[in-house]
Amino acid sequence: MIKVSTERDLRLDLFRGLALWLIFLDHIPSNAVSWITIRNYGFSDATEIFVFISGYTAAFVYGRAMQSNGFVVATARVLKRAWQIYVAHVFLFAIYLAEIAYVAHSFENPLYTEEMGVLDFMKNPDVTILQALLLKFKPVNMDVLPLYIMLLLWFAPVLWLLLRSPSLALLVSAALYSCMWIFEWNFPAYPSGTWVFNPFAWQLLFVFGAWCALGGAQRLGRWLNSPVVVGLAAVYLLFAFSIAMTWYIPRLGAYVPKLVGDAIYPIDKTNLDVLRILHFLSLAVITVWFVPRDWPALKSRVFWPAIVCGQHSLGVFCLGVFLSFAGHFVFTEVSNRVYTQVIVSALGIAIMVAAAALISWYRVIERQGPGPRPPSSKPGYAGGDA
């Protein structure tokens, strides 16, 4: 049986918090500030960071629960978490409906007759809403939570195996990923197509995160500190950066050899392309190289805003999706000048931090207060959620 470490790694909270900020910035369409986010400089984006760290913390929190309270209790808690995320997703969908109904009512322009076709689904809300509840109809930027739900639904048996034979669990996960590529497995979506984030693919990163939490990171330690690995990671990041530049400056594309272009395109986000995994791993290697676990600055006030967001990821994520809707609304109704975009982006992040601080404060008073539950009943929640 693997021993689950008891000390929370603040780096995880920090980078999950940063990933949440980046996802928020990327989700506001036409946001000049999203120029700074990592997806513009390589193959992977904040989603990889979020899924990996979510896997890591899920194993950390529920692994301890499974060891101290047994399989049934841990499973029940994982499923409860999946339910909470489902409820959060449906709540966000309601907000989305409100937004789209408003646009349908207020906007008309002959230039955009084709684009307004997106509102057609409002004509039969019975089907659309039902499909949304079944997680088959997912509006733009609302694909991460359904992925998270699916990952948690099968997480309990995965965790059971991870605690007994981590390498076997990781192998099974990799086998599932390979089968997905060979047999083209994915869940169907509505009105057509498949899930934007294929759970059969993205589970690999989630399980890899969990594997790292359960001792994998220590086993990799020797490799992570090797200058050769760090050098390779740096070279790969540079390669991805050069390719990314050809997306914005088409004439640079002429310098990409046809062989390379044929080999790398398309870079498949739905099925978590190997290029994206490698890019994420390279980022992780470089990050671990520069930011040691016991880095004193992690406890400083400078990083607190990101860390507190990372510690309450579900609430902050949902708020981020809502704020990105609201931000887009400000752009369309008030102003879309660059300074507005900067203000909206900064304000959004400030609201996310404030909300995370508020959730922290609630946790503290709930623990102090004369509530019906003694604090020991939820040890897994100490220091944040999964």
């Binding site: 036409s30 120029w35 906007f107 008309e108 322009n109 002959p110 084709e114 684009e115 739905t270």
Partner: protein, 250 residues
């Protein structure tokens, strides 16, 4: 990213030579309409003094309610090509219907190719696929098929990607489809008319207000006029005998 880039490019537009003879509002950075791939079949047509173009498209290649003199970009493309290629008989035919996905257009393509016998297929697509959330792989495969069918019929292809539509941006996930289009274009060496970035640049420069709600056609007409002209520039540029990187300091 694109926003910031657009501002840099706007500076370039103001500093560098503007696209000649166009209304000032059409001006965009030269690189957005440059083509790094040649159009051999178009060059053959120009040499033979007869250029046939087929516009294959969906709703954003139409202007609902437009009358003669106020048409969508295909008619304007014909005028601009005729102006830019004196002595060449230019004919632009259209196969345009709203809400068609790339795969649906490919199905209609052989008949249209047989009827028009074009030297060039201008293919506007992507929006309907994004709205209907077509599997991006199937979208890319449809693009590949369309290119192969066109080339087998001795026609070059130019892609036009989706419009920049700020109001519906949070509802239509164009990203994947625009990316796949760009990748197919690079792999198949097809010039891409980056309508999205051109329109985004106009929005950033304040040339057009794409947020405005109106039933009037005037802005839509001016946008289509510019698109027709810029498209003609791209086509003519791609058939010039000089190497495509000759102009502009690098």
């Amino acid at each position: 990213m694109m926003g910031r880039l657009a501002f840099l490019l706007a500076m370039l537009v103001l500093a560098g030579p503007a696209v000649a003879e166009h209304p000032a509002e059409c001006r965009v950075a030269a690189h957005q309409i440059e083509s790094i791939f040649p159009l051999p079949h178009v060059a053959v047509g120009i040499a033979a003094k007869k250029l046939n173009v087929l516009v294959l498209g969906a709703g954003s290649s139409l202007l609902p309610g437009a009358t003669v003199g106020h048409e969508a970009y295909p008619a304007r493309l014909q005028r601009a090509l005729a102006e830019g290629l004196p002595g060449v008989e230019v004919k632009v035919a259209t196969d345009v219907k709203p809400k068609r996905t790339a795969a649906e257009m490919v199905k209609a393509l052989p008949a249209a190719l047989a009827a028009v016998k074009p030297n060039l297929v201008v293919w506007q697509t992507g929006t309907a696929d994004a709205i209907q959330a077509i599997d991006p792989d199937q979208f890319s495969q449809a693009l590949d098929r369309g290119i192969n069918i066109s080339r087998a019929a001795s026609a070059d292809v130019v892609f036009i990607n989706p419009q920049y539509s700020p109001r519906t941006e949070s509802m239509i996930a164009l990203g994947t489809y625009a990316e796949n289009m760009r990748w197919v274009a690079v792999q198949q060496e097809v010039p891409l008319f980056d309508r999205f970035s051109v329109m985004k640049l106009w929005a950033d420069l304040g040339t057009f207000d794409f947020y405005s709600a109106t039933k009037k056609l005037d802005m839509a007409e001016r946008v289509h006029d510019c698109i027709g002209r810029l498209l003609a520039d791209l086509v003519i540029e791609a058939t010039k005998p000089s190497e495509p990187h000759a102009e502009g300091g690098r």
